[in-house]
């Protein structure tokens, strides 16, 4: 009989201890952010949407070596290469990344010999159709 009453009392006490925890957090400041209005700080190393860098004069650094396209595990990078007769250098006429397939693993950025392919901290990729996820040079090249 004593053990029975003790068990009940101990049970109630454990419930009260639990209620203390929730009450404690009830009066504490929330940890969430109100997303569209405030955004959390993103680490500078964030693997977001890809960008191509240019040199100081605004000329693309990419020389169309195709390494990024070949190392990509999901084959989401495609490009067309031509030889510019003006300075006899390889250049890309189109550079397309399908972000619908991209898994942001970052292998292409690591492999890039010219270090001209970079991740940005941009993560918003919203589109009404799949074609909207396929970004070409106009979106990717940062001048």
């Amino acid at each position: 009989m004593n053990a029975y009453i003790l068990k009940i009392l101990r049970g109630f006490w454990s419930l009260l201890v639990g209620m203390k925890v929730t009450l404690k957090y009830f009066f504490k400041k929330p940890v969430t952010v109100q997303y569209p209005y405030e955004k959390r700080e993103i680490a500078p190393v964030w693997r977001g949407i890809l960008n191509q860098l240019c040199d100081a004069k605004g000329v693309e650094l990419c020389d169309g070596c195709q390494i990024c396209g070949r190392i990509c595990p999901v084959q989401c990078i495609s490009m067309e290469v031509y030889k510019d007769p003006a300075d006899n250098k390889r250049k890309t006429s189109s550079y397309i990344v399908d972000f619908g397939r991209c898994m942001f693993c970052g292998l292409c950025v690591e492999a890039c010999p010219k270090k001209c392919l970079v991740h940005t901290t941009d993560y918003v990729l919203v589109s009404y159709e799949r074609a909207g996820m396929v970004l070409g040079k106009d979106k990717l090249v940062k001048r």
Binding site: G18, P30, T32
Partner: protein, 352 residues
């Protein structure tokens, strides 16, 4: 206790006005009486719907703050106050789905059946001394009688949906509500013994000053809160709608307005048990004399305190298992309730 302020003065004035008007027009009193009751009923409905909207919002806010969140913040501006209104509008526009092999009529009327008894229980609750639908002799008994009807609708909904999860939810609810009615009534019984009346106004007036039954009958109060939590299917006793086990329990197959009715009745039930707790154990519409607020304000303050405690339970505890629930009800709550009744009786005999 004469309180010469508050809503009840307006109400008595209105009643007198209607009585006189009908008398002057030469109509029998029964017409005036009916009109008064209709006005009261409509006012009650408005009160209930506003309270439920507020309660849902409160529930989301309380849960959010307990979980280090903020909850709805956008709709309506200030802390998302219009969120539940928006949700209700959404529910209104949702497609009303009846499962192909459901028992269509039972499925249709279950949401109505669930709402009516929870509405009826409001009739006898004294918001202020004279602000009461009908001050019945057996007021408290009527509340328990009607609140036990809710189980019928839940079984109807669970059975008619022709889904195994809803069936499990309905059967669980039947077992749970039947066994938790008993400690609920027994816990109030000791109070009734002390007061000697089933009339809610008598119970309130027996608690003048600070002689709340919550203090003189602490065990009964605790038993009542626990049994009431089970009665309104809230965690830790939310087995009929245990989300992680049987999806959503008896209302799994409901959508749109019918689901809205189930939700409405759930929160209305919560309001009722809190109102009863405030009336029976916490002095009802009576407040301290030095702070002359209308009685209804005092009652609602006490009610929302109980509601907060119920929400606090919900967002803290895990759920009991179905057989342990029965164990707890029959082996802990009911013996304790009997012990309490026995002690109360002994006290009454000795100190008479």
């Amino acid at each position: 206790m004469n309180i010469s302020y508050g809503l009840e003065n307006i109400w008595t004035w209105l009643i007198t006005l209607i009585d006189r008007l009908f008398c002057r027009a030469g109509l029998p009193y029964i017409f005036a009486y009916t009109l008064e009751k209709i006005i009261f009923g409509v006012a009650l409905l408005v009160f209930i719907s506003i309270s439920v909207l507020f309660l849902i919002w409160l529930e989301r806010k309380v849960s959010a703050h307990m979980q280090s969140r903020l909850g709805p913040m956008h709709v309506g501006g200030w802390h998302g106050w219009a969120q539940t209104i928006a949700d209700m509008v959404k529910l209104l526009f949702k497609e009303d789905i009846i499962p192909a092999k459901a028992d269509k009529w039972v499925h249709r009327i279950a949401p109505i059946v669930v709402f009516v008894p929870s509405l009826m229980a409001f009739l006898v609750i004294p918001f202020e001394k004279n602000l009461i639908g009908q001050d019945l002799n057996a007021g408290i008994l009527l509340i328990f009688a009607f609140s036990s009807l809710a189980v019928l609708a839940i079984i109807m909904g669970g059975w008619a949906s022709n889904n195994k999860y809803t069936l499990l939810g309905g059967i669980r609810s039947a077992a749970q509500m039947v066994s938790y009615e008993i400690p609920l009534v027994l816990s109030v019984l000791s109070v009734i013994m002390l007061v000697g009346s089933l009339k809610l106004n008598d119970i309130v007036e027996a608690q003048q000053g600070w002689h709340w039954f919550a203090f003189t009958q602490p065990l009964a109060f605790m038993l009542y809160i626990i049994a009431a939590t089970a009665e309104v299917n809230r965690t830790p006793f939310d087995l009929p709608e245990a989300e992680s086990e049987i999806v959503s329990g008896y209302n799994t197959e409901y959508s749109g307005l019918k689901y809205g009715f189930f939700m409405l009745s759930e929160f209305t039930n919560m309001l009722i048990v809190a109102l009863v707790a405030a009336t029976v154990f916490m002095g009802g519409w009576q407040g301290p004399k030095w702070l002359p607020l209308p009685g209804i304000i005092w009652l609602l303050l006490k009610t929302y305190l109980i509601v907060f405690v119920l929400m606090w339970f919900r967002w803290t505890f895990p759920r009991l298992r179905v057989d342990r629930l029965m164990d707890f009800g029959w082996k802990v709550l009911i013996p304790l309730a009997f012990v309490n009744i026995f002690l109360t009786g002994l006290f009454m005999v000795v100190f008479k």
